[in-house]
Structures are given as structure tokens and as C-alpha cells.
């Protein structure tokens, strides 16, 4: 008469579990979810070819030679032809080794990725650069407003501005002089809003922004700073 005691039960259980595992191993028992399909998707690399040189020449304000140089640099770093956000952050972070440039790079990425498909192609890249380097002051200010307006609703709120300013300060890193205090970004936002928000409604519209900047000499002068970058 077999009396299964406690320990014997455990032994039997162990044997059964091992048996099941072995069966699974041999594929006789289907258990668990299939993650094989997901693996396949990753294998195909994304490839993108830009428009022809003539078209880009027409659409942007760069000369043929300049476009060639730009494309060569772009393709060198991103052989697949598109930049995704992580690569973008990596590249941008190399220029600011002391601080954390990832947040600002995120905003920048969104500003460049005009069609919001999650990747910046060469066309996006070159269009953005064309505005920044060869555009009129109006266009540049437009672009800056677009950058600050995180949710692209046409208004810059204080929270959005705070995020932007904080991300800029993040790029500075820890070791600054004078030491960065907690309320510095907030104070900076206040100063900005005081300057820009004419009707004191708590948001800055595009017209307020452009008006205000055009009246500020410093800002106008600084917009011309990077004319000769390419």
C-alpha cells in the first residue's frame, strides 16, 4: 500500500516538471508566446535615399557643393540614410560632454522632424539647416518658436518654456560658476515671459514672440551669428 508522504509528493512533482520541460525543449509542447516574429522585423534595416540633388538645390538655399559636403557628412555618420532619435541624441551629446544634452536634443529632434515620423531624413535635415543658416530673420524666429512650442499648438506656455530652459541648463552640467541653483531656470522663464508676454495672458503667441524679438537688438544681432557656418 503506497502511502505518499510529503517529501515523496515533492519528488514526484519534481519529476513531472522536469518531464514537461524536456517535452517543451523538443517542441512537442507549445507553451509561452511567440516572439520570433518580432525578431524578424528588426533584421530588415531601414534604408532611405534622399531626393535628387537638383530638387534639393531648388528647395533649399544651399549650393550644389554645399549639399554635397553636407550629405557626405550625414551619410558617414548615418549610413542608413535616416537618423533616429537615439542616434541624434548621441551625436548631439558629443558636443556637450559635460552635461546632459539628451532633453534638448529631444526637442531639437522634434523641431527637425517636420513630418513627425520618428526619424530625420536628409531632406528634413537640410531643410532645417537651410532655414537656420540661410533663412530670413522671420523664418529663423519662426523656427525658434516652433522649437519652444513643444506640443505645437501655437502657444508657448510657462511649463513648456520651463522644460526648454531646464534642458538648456542641463547641457551645462554640474560644474558651473556660479553654481546652478534650483530656481534659476524658473527665474529665467519669468524674465522671458515678462519680456515676451505682452498681454499677460500667461502664454506667448507667435506674433508676440516675433514682435518682441524684432524689437530686441541683442536677439537680432545674435540671429546673424551663424551665417557662415557652412
Amino acid at each position: 500500500m503506497m502511502n505518499l508522504e510529503g517529501l515523496e509528493m515533492i519528488a514526484v512533482l519534481v519529476v513531472v516538471v522536469v518531464f514537461v520541460k524536456v517535452l517543451e525543449q523538443f517542441g512537442l509542447l507549445e507553451s509561452g508566446y511567440d516572439d520570433s516574429i518580432e525578431d524578424e522585423l528588426e533584421l530588415s534595416a531601414v534604408r532611405h535615399r534622399p531626393e535628387a540633388l537638383e530638387q534639393l538645390e531648388a528647395q533649399t538655399r544651399f549650393s550644389r557643393k554645399e549639399l554635397q559636403i553636407l550629405y557626405r557628412g550625414f551619410k558617414n555618420e548615418c549610413p542608413s540614410g535616416v537618423v533616429n532619435e537615439d542616434t541624434f541624441k548621441e551625436i548631439y551629446a558629443q558636443f556637450f560632454p559635460q552635461g546632459d544634452a539628451s532633453t534638448y536634443a529631444h526637442f531639437l529632434f522634434n523641431a527637425f522632424d517636420t513630418d513627425h515620423n520618428g526619424s530625420v531624413s536628409f531632406e528634413d535635415f537640410v531643410m532645417g539647416l537651410s532655414i537656420l543658416l540661410r533663412g530670413s530673420v522671420q523664418e529663423k524666429l519662426n523656427w525658434a518658436f516652433n522649437l519652444y512650442d513643444i506640443n505645437k499648438d501655437g502657444y508657448i506656455t510657462k511649463e513648456e518654456m520651463l522644460d526648454i530652459i531646464k534642458s538648456i541648463y542641463d547641457m551645462m552640467g554640474k560644474c558651473t560658476y556660479p553654481i546652478l541653483k534650483e530656481e534659476t531656470p524658473r527665474q529665467h522663464v519669468e524674465i522671458f515671459f515678462q519680456k515676451m508676454d505682452k498681454n499677460r495672458d500667461g502664454v506667448v503667441t507667435i506674433d508676440e514672440f516675433i514682435d518682441c524679438c524684432q524689437n530686441d537688438e541683442n536677439i537680432m544681432r545674435s540671429m546673424q551669428l551663424f551665417e557662415n557656418v557652412i
Partner: protein, 630 residues
Amino acid sequence: MAAGVAAWLPFARAAAIGWMPVASAPMPPPPRDKKRGQDGLIILNVSGTRFQTWRNTLERYPDTLLGSTERDFFFHEETNEYFFDRDPDIFRHILNFYRTGKLHYPRHECISAYDEELAFFGIIPEIIGDCCYEEYKDRRRENAERIQDDEENDNNNDLVMPDLSFRESMWRAFENPHTSTMALVFYYVTGFFIAVSVMANVVETVPCGISLNRAKELSCGERYALAFFCLDTACVMIFTVEYLLRLIAAPSRYKFVKSVMSIIDVVAIMPYYIGLVMTDNEDVSGAFVTLRVFRVFRIFKFSRHSAGLRILGYTLKSCASELGFLLFSLTMAIIIFATVMFYAEKGSSASKFTSIPAAFWYTIVTMTTLGYGDMVPKTIMGKIFGSICSLSGVLVIALPVPVIVSNFSRIYHQSQRAEKRRAQKKTRLARIRAAKSGGANAYLQYKRNGMLVDMEEEASKEAGQALVCKANPTFETQHHHLLHCLEKTTNHEFVDEQTYETSCMEVSLAKPSMSRSSSMSSSPHGLSSCCTRRNKRKSFNVPNSNMAGGRRGSIQELSTIQIRERPLSNSRSSLNAKFEETVPLNSEEPSYITAAVISMPTPPVTTPEGVDLASSHDFLQSNIVRVSAL
């Protein structure tokens, strides 16, 4: 900053426009942009293979040769390209570094060739990408070990210097038995006695017949007690003598006493002496018998005689961590399974598993798949867990073993390689010697043939191969002219070794003095007389291409061994030697040095130098070679 990212700097600067509206302070003025019209193609001609790249690509790394103005030194106006006389295959990788920012190491290339190219182009190897860095470091380490091995062996052979005291030579004889016959004899004698002693220990315990007095089996040791005692005494005496000699000869006695081998020696001979001292006291005889166990340590003395044993010991030492892991995991498993078995078998009656430590024995026997069968589980549960125990035992033991095996294999092959290299070295040296001596005569032939115009017909009569010298390239002729100038400066002449030797032997007195200092100063005496004599006669002995005399073997070997080592210091010292009165060079054969005082510098020093310089373009090497030969 990675080079590729430099191409994105314009973008980063442009994006800075985003900061402008929120800036708290006015911006600094931008830097002067120098005209960037320089972006053209550069042609790099590397030994005929043309590489082309953008100028900007190269300028990404301004601290390397190609990125800085250093490359202007290689500019070739006629073809308007940069010409480098280097290996194009390796250059490909270097140029790819500029293009992609990653330096790769090709596996099929020789590590030292690659290092040289990197050094030439001013690239530090630390930037090799992660994909290739491991391989690079491994190969480099291997190479360094190999060179170190060679150097150690050479250093060992170097001590053929005469200035060894008796003590040092004795120590050398102990460490390298193949250096002298006495040492070899000693080596074999001790080996023989170790074997005899171990055999005696073993045979002592074999039952040897029944003694008639007592109805008990006698072991051979008891039956032939006296014989065994004499044998033991003899062995122990030999061992003691050997140990004392080693102790005396050791350069650092303290270190010697601490070393493993000496401890083994002591442990091997102590039981005998303790046995002598102790009498047949009943109380301590038990302990005395235990001491006899230590006699088996004599077998470890064999490790001096067997390289394989040493390698095994070294392997075990180097695999200490793996062995430790093995031990630890085994212990864990033993404890776990012993506990389980004990509780599983607790229920069954008359079970042998009386306690957990008692179950240890069962677990060990099962995990190592010995399975004696003296302890066997009787319950079903016990049997199930017992089978799991044996299955897991196989796994746990099998895991660390390959690591140990691969370690052993690596060390063993290393020692094999060292042995092979040593064996091949002799033939390699012989070949090098032949090549050198062939060229060594070039200068002497030149002197005979080309130097003095009126000698030409005489020279062509004397040496049939004078015709060869007529077709000397410009380099050779200029070089010979230089040596000739040197001869005129010092008012001595170059001769070959054999002539020098014979002249020295003529002049040397009968006393073979082992003086170490200023030995070389006395050597030229005979030579100068020979030279002056020869000058008048204007005839030279045809130098033998085989310059190895009877006793020359070791000199040549020593000289050529030195090829790789101590390049600069020796050459400098040898250069100084030409202009110094007394040259305290180490001489191989001081017996040929006379006591006569000479005031002239030593042409023999310069002789082989000049002769060798003619043969090879590698001045430093030849300098070393010849200096040490004398």
C-alpha cells in the same frame, strides 16, 4: 570627439539659434572662418598603391602624421602626390581609421609589423575599436612573452662569462645541468638515487615470506632490515650533500630556504635524522612511524628532473581560481544532497545514513560516480534523490575541467615552442654566421683590390673573386672609403679574426690569466706588430669564409645571440673604445690576453666592426655582434 561627428558641428552651431531668444547675455562674436576652399582630393601613394581621400578626412586627426604638416615631408612634387614607402596592406586600415573613426586590427597581420606602422603614422594603439581590441591585446601579450622568453634564455646562456666565482658557477651547474659534464653527472646521479630511494620505500612494505619464529607475515623491510637501512642511509647522505651544496651555492640563501623545492628536500630527509636521534622508545615510535610517511615526499624531488611535472604544478597554480570554484560548488552540492538523503532515508529501518556527515560519504561517492555500494538508499524517495545526485555530480565536475585543460595546453605548448626555438636557434645562427662572414670579407677584399691602384694586378692574382668587388655599388664604395679614413685616423688597420687570433697566440705568454680588467688593452700588442709587418709586405691572407675556429663556437654563438639586445649602449661603448687607451671589455678567452702594456687603441675591436659593417646595413646589430665576440 569622434571624427565623424566633426562633420555635424555646423549643424550643432546652427541649432544654437534656438538659444538666442532666451539668452540672458549677448553672444560672443563668431571665430574667423578661414577660407574652406581647401577641400580637395589628396593622393596618397603607398608603395605604388594609390589611395585617394578628401583633405578634410585626413585633417580630422591633426595629431597624427597624415593630419598634420608632417605629411609635407613626404610630398613628391613631380607627381603631385604624397609618397610613403610603407606597406600598403596595413595602410588600408590606417586610412580607414580616418574615414570611419574606428581603427581595426587585421588578424592575419603580424603584430609587430602593425605596431610599427601605427607608430610611423603617429596613431596610438589604444584607440583600436572594441571589436578588435581583445585580439590585439592578446597577440601583443603573446609576442611580449615570447620575446621575454627568448631574452631569459639568452640571459641564461649569457653567463658563459668567465667572471663567475666558484659559487656562482656551482649554482649555474645546479640550475642548468646541460651546461657542463659534471653537472650532468650530478643530475643523473641524484635522479637515480631518488628513484632508488622511492623504490626502496615501496618494496619495504611488501610481504616477504613467513618467518619461522613467529607465525606472522614479515615484510621485506623487517626481514632485510639492515640492507634497507644501509640503502636508506646512502640515499639520505646523497640528498643531504646535495642540499648543503645547493644551500652554499645559492645566491640568496634566504630565498632558497623559502623555496618549495628546498622545503621538499628538507622534509624528505628529516625523518631519517629524527629516526637516528630517537631511540627505540615505545611512546614516540608511533609518531616515528608516521614520520616515515614523509619519506614519500622524495618523489617530488623528481620535479627538478622533469619539465612536465613542473608544468603540471604551474598549471595547477595558475588555475587556482577554477579549482577553488570546483571545490566550492562540489562542497555546496555535497551538503545539499547529504541533507536531503539523510532526511529521505530517515524513515527506513536499519539505514546506514545515521547522520548528515555520514551521508557526506555517500554523496561524494555518488557524485564522482564511484558508487562503492557500501551505502545505498532503500526508500523510493532516497533512490530518486540519489539518481539526481549522481547526474548533477557529473555536470558539476565536468564544467571547470576544460578551463584547466586549456590552461595546461597553453602552458605546455608555450614550453614546447621555447624548446623548439632553442633547437632551431643553433641552425639559424649558423646560417646567419655564414651570411655575415661572406660579407665580412668585402671590406678586406676592397682593400686589396680597389684601394691602391698599383695593387690591382696583384689583387686579381691573389683572390679569384676580386672581380666581384669591381661591380660595387656606390654605397659600398663610399662605405669602404669611410673605413679607410678611419684606418688612417687611428693608424691601425682592419684585419680578419683568424689573422688576429694567430697573431695573438704568437705573442701571448704561457700564463692563462683570468684577469677581468683591462684585458683588452693588452691584446692589440701582437696585432700591431703583425700589421706593421703586413703593411710592408702588402699582402694579406685570404680570409676564410668560415671564420669559426675551434674554440670559436661559443664566441660566435654568444655574439650572434646578442643580436637583439642592448643595441645602443654597446655600440656607443664600442665607439668610445676606439679612442680610448684602455678598454675594459669583457673578454671571452682571457687566456689569450697578454700582460704586455699597450698604449694604442684596440683595432681588434674595430676590426670586426668594420668588417661587419660592410656586410650588413644594420650598424647597430653588427656593432653588438662583434664587440661581444671579443
